[in-house]
Amino acid sequence: MERTTIDLWFGAFVTAGFVALMVLALKVGNLGAERATEVYRVEARFDNIGGLKARGPVRSAGVLEGRVQDIHFDNERFQAKVTLALDQRYKFPKDTSASILTSGLLGETYVGLEAGGDDKVLAGGDRITITQSAVVLEKLIGQFLFSKAQESPAAAPPPAASAPTIPASTPAKK
């Protein structure tokens, strides 16, 4: 088969496209990081999940351990039932606690796991019993005002109660 310059250009063009795809996939996107790993599923119930969404991250000590698989509303207990898909490589003790946290001020909502001290570990299908719901800002302000009012019942809090200054939190470390 004879070669022409057209072949060269076509090949170069398609290769360039492929390289761009790889760059976008690996350097820009998360393809390298999230390899399809084996997961096991555990459940956790929360009173309030805040802004947690499906596919949200599950972290422990700041490191990504898995993803939120599913969020359902438990109509009997009136709680949120969250299914977590955790990386098979990492095992957590049975008394691990799960909290709904936010990474930074404007960051996304994630599930933070803090390991307990139990010898036995969580297996697929188990339920995390110790959970902490998301912090709802309005309730926090309400609590603050209430506690302030309790301290000094004579002095009424200033009418324009400014929101409590939230300490500048560090952006979640990856």
Binding site: A12, A20, L21, V28, G29
Partner: protein, 264 residues
Amino acid sequence: MLDIRKPIARLGHNVIDGVWRAGVMARFFGQVLASSGTSFSRFRLVMREVYFSGVLSLIIIIVSGLFVGMVLGLQGFETLQKYGATESIGVLVALSLVRELGPVVAALLFASRAGSAITAEIGLMKTTEQLTAMDMMAVSPMARVIAPRFWAGIISMPILSLLFSAMGVFGGYIVGVVMIGVDNGAFWSQMQAAVDFRYDVLNGLVKAFVFGIAVTIIATFEGYDAPPTAEGVSGATTRTVVTSALTILALDLVLTAFMLRADH
């Protein structure tokens, strides 16, 4: 007194005409697909057209991608600064490009450069009776001229969109990290965390593919349908760019709504 009936009648006529054309274009699309056998058995024809519509568009795509990425970096920095979130500049640039600007702007540029060229070329071939001559020589112009250009557009468009996005990210990097001084590590790591391959990059690719089909069908149809005169071909070329632009944006709306909803 201003006769309001005439403009309204003309508007109605144009709308009906537009719908009619869309129908004819759909039938044309079917014919192109049916005549695509030659495009696969003689792939060299397609490759040649990929050179003319894809490779020759590289310059404008790469330069525009770079500029758009840089502008995104500048504009994004300006706003993110207020929230102390300048390290997210990479996220902003990458997501904007990969999801939206890459496919859409690349498609608009493709329609302007390659689409209009295809329309003019086919229109001219029709005017100088080259298509009729081919038909008289028992060679189907659909199979030999139109279909290869169609498949070339489908191949070229996604590649150009990817290159646009990649260059744009690079442009954002130049502005963000090199010029402004955002931390290199934070720039890339935040970006990688936010850009999901399946939902962002692949969705963008699907968009580019759909836009490629739309632009190429419009371009080949307008050329094939053009009145065989100088004004006819020039009008067809303009129509290609305008119709392509509107179709791209409309499809973008539909696809984006569909993709974002399917996400949750």
